[in-house]
């Protein structure tokens, strides 16, 4: 009789202590990933890159099994992963990485860093807008909303709401931003050697151009954790600049072109 109770009470303990369960879960996941990195790739693919990729695959599995939008955190046993990987802890850890950052590198890149944010927003917006037009959208509001989504998945809905876009278009803009963020996480370590992403200066520019905080956070973690503070510093301004430009100047430009 007691034997049947054990799984239930174990599940109870794990659920009640969700954040602690997440620490164990992520700890095992990271350990496995570093093991795979060493054994299968002889360290060529960074352990954290593997861990992040496995995390994304698990998020896909979680989403398809539960139908929720929180990835694996939609399993009640793993709800703590949602807390641990939520914006609060993410931003807290990002701020902590600034401790010991090279102040001179930050000072030197001030202007280029600011430029990279501006160029990054306009570039992603323009690319997203062109894709929207290629897919048959003709109204300036939808085109701008999708363009804004290609900046980040926050800029998209903020712009769409401000302009009064339909909810289907807003959902598309979020999906475009999510695709970007996932791709930046996976793609950064692969492309880093080719684009010279190996020093604080290029990391600052990378953060400003990419802009997706989660993408940059994951991408740099998988490439070289020492670069995190530089990329995160510029990326954190990107969404604000995007929310400023997309529904105003950029929308007006799109409207002047298509209407």
């Amino acid at each position: 009789m007691e034997g049947r109770m054990i799984p239930e009470s174990l599940a109870d303990v794990l659920t009640k202590n969700g954040l602690i369960t997440a620490f164990v879960f992520v700890g095992v996941l990271v350990w496995l990933s570093y093991l795979l990195s060493e054994r299968l790739t002889r360290g060529h693919i960074h352990g954290s890159a593997i861990a992040i990729t496995i995390g994304l695959v698990l998020a896909y599995v979680g989403g398809s099994v539960t139908g929720g939008n929180q990835g694996i955190a939609d399993f009640s046993l793993l709800a703590g992963v949602g807390i641990m990987g939520g914006a609060m802890f993410r931003d807290f850890a990002i701020v902590a990485t600034a401790f010991g950052a090279d102040v001179d590198a930050l000072k030197r890149a001030g202007f280029v860093g600011a430029m990279s944010i501006l160029i990054g927003v306009v570039l992603s917006f323009a690319v997203g807008a062109v894709v929207a037009i290629a897919f048959g959208y003709t109204d300036a509001i939808s085109i701008s909303t999708i363009g804004a989504g290609a900046a980040t998945y926050i800029v998209g809905p903020v712009t769409g709401t401000a302009l009064g876009a339909e909810s289907g278009v807003i959902a598309l803009s979020v999906a475009a931003g999510l695709t970007k963020s996932v791709l930046v996480m996976i793609g950064t370590p692969l492309i880093a050697p080719r684009i010279g992403l190996n020093n604080p200066h290029s990391a600052l520019i990378y953060g400003g151009l990419m802009g997706t905080t989660s993408g940059v956070a994951g991408g740099l973690a998988a490439t070289d954790p020492k670069l995190v503070p530089y990329g995160a510093m510029t990326a954190t301004f990107y969404t604000g600049v995007g929310c400023l430009l997309a529904p105003s100047v950029l929308y007006l430009i799109v409207r002047a072109i298509v209407e």
Binding site: A22, V26, L29, V30, I52, G55, L56, V57, L58, A59, Y60, G63, I72, V81, M84, G85, F89, R90, D91, F92, A93, I94, A98, F99, A109, V112, M115, I119, G120, S124, V127, G128, A134, F135, I146, G149, A150, A151, V158, L172, A175, A176, L178, T179, K180, G187, I195, G196, N199, I205, L209, S214, A232, T234, T236, F237, T239, G240, V241, C243
Partner: protein, 123 residues
């Protein structure tokens, strides 16, 4: 004490996010403008520039170092809670737009990196 480091870090984050919110309100956008970046600058400022007045002892520093070291596990948890299914299953437009934006942005990095004075270690 370790808590001094954790408290300093927390103070910086809250201040930064608060200022970021104010900035967002000020320029009339519904978003936080650079909150985390401001928090990082504040932490760098407090731990570097005022080093004689506010000398952090090594134990206090471990309160910050711990959270810095937790960065990768937290990012792994963040990856595991992403709405990947929405990204993959909402059709080609979203995927093409996302992929094209990333490709264009990656391509710009070497171009921009040549500007400024990043040439100190071009080897």
């Amino acid at each position: 004490m370790v808590i001094y480091g954790v408290a300093l870090l927390s103070f910086c984050m809250l201040t930064g996010v608060f200022v970021g919110d104010l900035l967002g309100d000020l320029i009339g956008v519904q978003a936080n403008v650079g909150g985390v970046g401001i928090a990082m600058l504040l932490l760098i400022f407090l731990s570097n520039f005022s080093s004689h007045k506010l000398k952090l002892n090594p134990i206090t520093e471990t309160g910050i170092g711990f959270w810095s070291a937790m960065y990768i596990p937290i990012v792994v948890a963040m990856a595991a809670k992403q709405n990947v299914i929405a990204a993959v299953s909402s059709g080609w437009l979203a995927i093409v737009a996302g992929v094209a934006a990333v490709a264009a942005s990656f391509a710009m990095i070497p171009v921009l990196a040549r500007f400024g004075d990043g040439g100190q270690d071009d080897s």
